[in-house]
């Protein structure tokens, strides 16, 4: 019994140190964001702010940086891409899992092999395509790329669909349901847990995506959360307390989502990595 307690103490100690190390990089950020200009210049970055409710920097960051645009654009891109990604992923999975047809193996292989292509570098050539489609400097560039290159979701849907008994489709078919009715009224509702997983992990990934909006949407009015925050670096480099506030504004939605959806997020991360 005593030995067990020792283990517990050591475990708590190690975990506490690791948790502190995880939080530590964010602490100077929080402190700085709550300090006035003078206070910021005259105090060390590990000194807590005088007034914990001084939200002046947050107001400046919100109104003077382009964060408003950023959240608006990210919101639009995120919603449209998620709906699209779910439609595409479930359709592909439905066709592959529920039908036997010539060329099925080839199709499956085509999706499989695509996961090996490193996404960032193909932008060298993808850029030309987006340009030819006249999507450069429009939100559609990000939307169509998020939708069109998301293969992990197809896998998540495929995996989940395999566990939905085929007898359900059969009996519906005998009752006279067409393939679309089966897809829309039977399969889609049963896929709800998988859809939740995709929404969560893809939603987080799209919220965090930096390079695609950076490359394809240079127009400041089309800034997303990531690029709008990135653009703080130049103009605000003399007032880091504002940059810190902006950074926290961007972190806040992630923190909220994490606190509310912790369990789903853990499940989603495992499902997304282990294709």
């Amino acid at each position: 019994m005593k030995k067990f307690d020792l283990f517990k103490i050591v475990a708590y100690l190690i975990l506490t140190i690791c948790a502190l190390a995880t939080v530590f990089p964010l602490i100077p950020l929080l402190f700085a964001s709550l300090k006035g200009k003078e206070e910021f210049q005259n105090t060390g970055s590990l000194n807590p702010p005088k007034n914990w409710f001084n939200f002046h920097n947050f107001a400046v960051a919100w109104s003077q940086g382009d964060l408003v645009h950023g959240f608006f654009n990210t919101g639009i891109i995120l919603s449209v891409s998620l709906v699209g990604t779910i439609a595409i992923g479930t359709m592909a999975a439905y066709a592959i899992d529920r039908f036997n047809f010539r060329g099925k193996q080839l199709v499956l292989w085509g999706f499989l092999a695509a996961t090996l292509v490193p996404g960032v570098t193909t932008q060298v050539a993808t850029f030309q395509i987006i340009n030819k489609l006249n999507l450069y400097n429009t939100r559609w560039a990000a939307i169509i790329l998020y939708m069109g290159t998301d293969i992990i979701s197809i896998y998540i849907f495929l995996q989940f669909m395999a566990s939905i008994p085929k007898a359900l489709d059969e009996s519906a078919r005998i009752d006279g349901a067409g393939h679309f009715t089966i897809y829309f009224r039977i399969i889609l509702p049963l896929l709800r847990p998988a859809i939740a997983t995709v929404v969560i992990i893809k939603g987080i990934a799209m919220y965090n995506e930096f390079y695609i909006p950076f490359l394809y949407m240079p127009d400041p009015a089309l800034g997303t959360v990531s690029t709008a925050l990135y653009r703080f670096i130049g103009p605000f480099s003399a007032s880091w307390q504002v940059i810190c506030a902006a950074t926290l504004i961007v972190i806040l939605p992630t923190l909220t989502a994490f606190l509310l959806l912790q369990k789903f997020i853990y499940r989603g991360l495992s499902a997304g990595a282990v294709k």
């Binding site: 995880t22 950020l29 066709a95 039908f99 060298v124 390079y211 990531s226 940059i243 950074t247 294709k275």
Partner: protein, 292 residues
Amino acid sequence: MFKEKTKRQFVPWLYLLLPIGLLALFTYLPVINMFWYSTTEWDGFDPHKKFVGFHNYVKIVKNPEIFHSLFNSLYYFGGAVIQISLALFLATVLSYRFRGSNIFKGFLVFPYLLNSVAVSLAFLYLYKGGGGLDLLVKHLGLGRFLTLWLGNPHIVNFSLAGVSVWRYMGLNLVLFLGAIQSINPELFEAAQLDRANRWHQFRYIILPGIKRITALSVILAVSGSIGVFEIPYIMLNGSNGTTTFVIQTLKTAFVLNQVGLASALAVTLLGIVLVVTFVQRKIFKDEGVDLV
């Protein structure tokens, strides 16, 4: 009956039309074009692409900067090894459920979900001269180790790899924990009856149970460290010797407007990733690992 059968052949393509169309347009067409562009000298605008054969590849092999940026991947790979070991250790500790273990897990996983620009800015501020890290180091009485974390060219890549460990450890932790929790609990009960100690439980139950996920983590670590991009790009724009292969490729394409050469770089990267994946699949084949 025959008609029904042909219909069943035809219907799936209705559902596949859009997914396959997008796959072809945004994954396979770029790859094919990349090969094509890589044999040309082209700025990305000129309607005429000048064919130069393998000239771009010769340029790559002769350019020492390329090898330097590939070498930089090693810092991140080193970081990934630390990160995987740490995650394995912490996952083992956390798998003995006790009060508060979920809170600790939350703390450790959270960084993985954060926006890359936010992470980069947080660490730019932390690493600043006289910033949070300097103060911490001084408080710990290690003042003589103070340096410019991002300015010292011998240190900067370690600092960046550190950011990467901080950011990605949580993912490994979740994967390991998931694998440990899916081990049959009866095994642990049997071990307890046999008076096996914690080390034995780790060595003979946990370790064999997470083989597959460890292999996956290593594969992700290798391709991840070759593909490092966001942190060095956002924090330092690849300056001070922190360029990575991906940064170099993208700068060649979109800053220097040498799309031909950039495509050759991209093809090279694709080749490296494919070879690495292939070799790893060979190695892990006996382990019953079934990946991509």
